[in-house]
Amino acid sequence: MEKKELELLKLLEGNARLETKNIAKMIDVSLEDTKKMITKLETEGAILGYSTVVNWSKVLEYEGVTAMIDVKVTPSRGVGFDKVAERIYRYPEVKAVYLMSGAYDLSISVEGKTMMEISRFVSDKLSTLDTVISTTTHFVLKKYKHDGVIFDDNDDGDKRIMVTP
């Protein structure tokens, strides 16, 4: 991949709302070419989407729980873990699925309105899959950092004095 494309991707990964004209200036490419690069990366699927990091604990009306579930599975012949992963990631309440090295095979992140909702998902849908051997569910109590963003109330911003030599 071209160096400028990599630079652009890193900038967008850090802040999807950076204005294209500013990105163009920063990576020293014309605005037109920057737009073309973005379209190309979107078409190729290198850019899959643009999302927002929300600190839901700040939103009073929001009710929700997140669980990380360790899943042990029997891989199927020919397709390995991919088939069972797909059976799982198709559920909309499943927000992330990773194939892991180590003690278990799949790590999945599930969001629901209540603990009940998630436990129903685990007992009714996940553990009933033929290939699933066992599940261990961990509920998230507090989010400190997500996707590189620290969820901190106490950061009072720039700590430098205004003018220094």
Partner: protein
Amino acid sequence: MNTQQRSYLSETAEQIKPSGIRRFFDLATQMDNVISLGVGEPDFITPWNVIEASFHSLEQGYTAYTANAGLLELRQEISKYLRNNYEVEYNPENQVIVTVGASQAIDLALRAVLNPGEEVIVIEPCFVSYAPAVTLAGGKPVIVHTSAEDDFKVQPEQIEAAITSKTKAVIVCSPNNPTGTLLAKEELIKIATVIEKHDLLVISDEIYAELTYDEAFTSFSAIEGMMKRTILISGFSKAFAMTGWRLGYAVGPKEIIAAMTKIHQYTIMCAPTMAQHGALEALRNGNTSVQEMKTSYRQRRNFVVKALKDIGISCHLPGGAFYVFPSIKKTGLTSEKFAEELLKKEKVAVVPGNVFGESGEGYIRCSYATSLKQLDESMKRIDRFIHEQV
């Protein structure tokens, strides 16, 4: 009884002018919601591994003095770092001293080499401390002015013209604060010829060495024949975002480092121990962070230079540091007036160029070590301000 009281101040202290930055600082801090492009330090917090290493050293009880010249381990790492990055070789046993910021290293260097009345060539615009530090060390600063036409690069003839029988040293700073100018290897070679010819010493302030964006940095000491004529000064403040830790160093000929260590021993004892432990980690495992910060500075430099161009302000592309030094001459205002009006009308703080020397008049220093959002907004405000002026 005689109630009259004489002034207790020394003539030297009385004669030294307070830095013009101070006045600006007072003005800016009286106002709210100011976007400051006046900060001469990184906007990053020190990399966490460095902070953590310093915590750990405290937990382990490393709270006592270190050797005067600094922890041997740290001097070894500094030596290795300089060898690997800048191809200069210094013996950690007797050619390296760890100081309280590069600023103290400059002071020590001048005090170690100057006899009363000896002259030091100071190339302006430059960091505000050089000339006063020369004076405080009993020397006489001789100013050489650079200009935008030369991208603020000193011409060897200018140095030559300033040399007298009393000249002892030249202070060189590349990449430069406030202009961001980087001297290329060929340019350093030409300066070295003059240094050699007149048997001078160079105090090379290389604090911004890591922060170059287009061309590779060359240490003055790496120029053939210059190692024995150079006191290389650097530190952790800029590259590792460690300004508040106050940790720098000097390397040079062993007699000079020994003399500097002697003065250091009687005046400071040693640089802060916890900061030295942080610095060890910075040199051992800090490069990834340095490179990430550097990328971010380069992007913001590109942004600011282009934004200024769009506004119609002329500005050379600075090769290093994190400053741009654009001309505001077309507004007809002096640097001071421009900065003051801009602060009052648009709440953007920049540093008037004349603070860094007479040749900085007509320019302002803008630091781009601030968030892109703030930079973007400040450029809009500067645009509006300029167009109200002309």
